[in-house]
């Protein structure tokens, strides 16, 4: 680049190169945003659409999160609903059992402070905020066990807050639900 030979020409060249780069940058950003939008709409992997609430003060007394209603249950349409709560410093149920290759509706909330929940080896990851219900459509493609730690600091026992998920064969799962409406690993 001729730095000072011809100031006017140099300036015009500099401005042109710069404009090209700016355009390219805008295109890069546009493509990235477009890709995320397309994948989001196309594969329906958008976040929870609606805000739902649950009062942590009365969770254990009434509503969908009473203790006898926690765990995995088969719905009329063949899908499965899992309900869970997090509290300092455990999950209820502490071990969740789910069937393979089945659409699962995961519903969870917190009974006290902010917790989180992620299932290692999957993309399942959500916050549990007291007062609100986290809703997550999930599906497991392989048998096995996963650890399910709390991923947000929730107090001095946070490091001990690890749950588990067991993915079992669908028929085995259905056989077990015949005996009991709400399943956890211990049933």
């Amino acid at each position: 680049m001729a730095v000072e030979t011809d100031h006017g020409i140099g300036e015009a060249v500099a401005a042109r190169i710069e404009r090209r780069w700016a355009t390219l940058s805008i295109v890069i950003v546009g493509v990235l945003v477009g890709m995320a939008t397309f994948i989001g709409i196309h594969q329906a992997t958008m976040p929870q659409g609606r805000v739902e609430t649950a009062d942590p003060g009365t969770l254990h007394l009434s509503g969908e999160f009473i203790e006898s209603n926690l765990g995995s249950a088969v719905e009329a349409d063949g899908s499965v609903t899992v309900r869970a709560i997090g509290q300092q410093y455990s999950f209820t149920p502490q071990c969740v059992v789910v069937p393979l290759e089945t659409p699962i509706n995961f519903r969870a909330t917190s009974a006290d402070v902010v917790h989180g929940l992620l299932i290692e080896g999957t993309n399942i990851n959500t916050m549990l905020v007291p007062g609100y219900v986290s809703v997550l459509p999930i599906r497991f493609k392989a048998l096995g066990e996963h650890v399910m730690p709390c991923q947000e600091f929730c107090g001095i026992g946070h490091q001990g807050m690890w749950g588990k998920v067991k993915v079992v064969d669908k028929t085995e799962f259905l056989n077990r639900t015949a005996a009991k409406r709400r399943l956890t690993c211990v049933d």
Partner: protein, 541 residues
């Protein structure tokens, strides 16, 4: 022409003392949670330490750097003494006293809430009061920067505001408005509960307010670094700044789009609907723009410097750069870390990919690489560059400076690459220790040990940095001359009003924040049943 040298030096020294102390805590944390640690400490100490380390590194250290550097820029670029000297000292003391007020309850274990202090967990009120004092102290700086620019403009009606000052004022506006989110949360939600006037709090609303601050604060941390790229590097290596206008556009873009994107921190949260998450995700894409523009301008400016020194060839010019110059070295290492970190950032910004790394160790690895790495290494460069002008003594340990910078870079890579990796494996963040005997966790053990080794390298580099500065204070006196910023290759004869003032951009900044945050906040404010009981930490009430 720096007149208030003591003021500026006080900011830098306090910043680096805080930094050094927090660095020790960081290295200890890394060791404590690794398999190298055979004894288990009381886990509560870990959370105390992370609260102290995070608050010091996130709130106190970068704020003092931005303030001190801001005062230096004001005097050096406007070539006149700072207006409001007394106020500036008052701001400094507020920050200093606030930091102490916040750290006392933290060190006593009465406020182990981490630097994000998510309610309904509520700690000792003095922690929050201390944080507010730090912010209010910095708001004095926020007010002084535009005032100084306005005074200068009145005296120099036909001249464009120097780029360094323009960017500095952009940073001050950005911080002023960024801090409002957390300030609203602390003052209206948390403090009434911490003081016992109320016992319930909306945890979801608090997270929304905090996200307003949490994202844009990173640009506040970043701005001194970008100012150094644009206005220090080209001069330090004997070159020119490629483009003055593009630099202004980059800083303006930060001011406008930094705030209305914070909800990307809430992608996995239940209290914000999909629509606003999507909006914020789109805007998040836009903040990549100023960085792409900056990288181009900086590389082009370096090329100019090299060609002026006789560098030739399409890539051969890179070799002709003055690599023994610490400012160049720091910038190059910073850009490499920014590149890696930026690639990681693109992953975080997409809702779908974020789900696999949200709140894992990937996130802590990511922000240490960008903030601790790319940003902080330029804070070192700023100090090295300014020191002789502040102390009136030469800094001559160039070899030591280069060693320090390389060690920081290497340490950052060794610390953060394995840190990212265990995050991909799903390791959750912010835990005092892990059961490495568990077969589900044992594959992560080696990587965490690596990070701990990197932590020691960083600590060593931090010590070297302080040694260089202390040596500088003791060197024989020598006149450093006037402090100058880079000159653009083509100085525009006239600058459009839009690139020389902030009215329009501030209106956009506030307007976009209101559009993107107004509805989610209003919706949660009318939802009364989501106020939940506070959970007090560290106190037996």
């Amino acid at each position: 022409m720096l007149t208030n040298k003591r003021l500026i030096l006080s900011h830098f020294w306090l910043a680096f003392i805080v930094f050094g102390a927090a660095l020790v805590l960081g290295a200890w944390q890394m060791f404590e949670r690794s398999p190298l640690n055979a004894w288990h400490f009381n886990p509560e100490f870990y959370y105390r330490s992370v609260t102290a380390h995070g608050s010091a590194m996130g709130y106190v250290f970068p704020t003092l750097i931005a303030m001190g550097f801001g005062y230096a820029i004001t005097e050096a670029s406007l070539e006149k003494p700072l207006v409001g000297r007394r106020w500036a000292w008052a701001g400094f003391f507020l920050v200093a006293v606030g930091a102490v007020v916040a750290m006392i309850p933290v060190s006593l274990g009465l406020a182990s809430v981490l630097y994000t202090f998510y309610p309904p967990m509520v700690g000792n009120p003095f922690y929050y009061i201390g944080v507010v004092m730090v912010v209010v102290g910095s708001w004095i700086w926020v007010a002084l920067m535009p005032i100084n620019m306005a005074v200068w403009k009145r005296e120099n009606p036909d001249k464009p505001v120097p780029l360094a000052m323009f960017a500095n004022v952009a940073g001050s506006y950005l911080w002023g408005w960024t801090a409002v989110g957390a300030a609203l949360e602390i003052i209206f939600q948390i403090l009434p509960v911490a003081l016992g006037l109320k016992s319930t709090i909306d945890a979801g609303l608090a997270r929304v307010f905090f996200s307003w601050t949490l994202h844009a604060i990173v640009y506040f941390w970043l701005i001194p670094t970008y100012i150094a790229y644009y206005t220090i590097l080209p001069r330090a290596i004997g070159g020119r700044l490629y483009s003055d206008a593009m630099a202004r556009i980059s800083f303006i873009l930060f001011v406008v789009v930094a705030m209305p994107i914070g909800v990307h921190h809430l992608f996995a949260d239940p209290q914000v609907g999909a629509g606003f998450k999507f909006m914020h995700s789109v805007f998040t894409g836009l903040v990549a723009l100023p960085t792409l523009l900056t990288v181009f301008t900086i590389c082009a400016s370096a090329e100019i410097a090299s060609r002026l020194r006789g560098g030739r060839g399409a890539f051969g010019w890179v070799r002709a750069l003055p690599w023994q110059n610490p400012i160049l070295l720091a910038t190059a290492l910073s850009l490499v870390m920014l590149g890696f970190g930026g690639a990681g950032g693109l992953i975080n910004m997409s809702y779908q990919l974020d789900a696999s790394v949200h709140n894992t160790q990937w996130i802590t690895g990511h922000f240490h690489l960008i903030f601790g790495g790319a940003i902080v290494i330029m804070y070192f460069a700023i100090a090295y560059d300014l020191w002789p002008h502040l102390t009136g003594r030469a800094l001559e340990s160039f070899g030591l400076m280069r060693t320090q910078l390389w060690l920081w870079f290497t340490g950052m890579i060794v610390t953060t690459f394995p840190w990212h990796y265990v995050g991909i494996l799903g390791m959750p963040r912010r835990m005092a220790f892990y059961d490495y005997a568990n077969p589900a966790i044992s594959p992560q053990a080696f990587s965490v040990s690596m990070s701990a080794v990197g932590g020691l390298m960083l600590l060593t580099s931090g010590v070297l940095f302080l040694i260089v500065l202390i040596r500088g204070q003791r060197a024989p006196a020598s006149e450093a001359g006037a402090y100058r910023f880079s000159v653009p290759l083509h100085m525009p004869a006239r600058i459009p009003v839009a690139l020389n003032s902030f009215g329009l951009w501030l209106a956009l900044m506030i307007g976009l924040t209101v559009v993107n945050y107004g509805y989610p906040i209003a919706q949660l404010m009318v939802l009364n049943e989501t106020n939940v009981p506070a959970v007090y930490v560290g106190a037996s009430r």
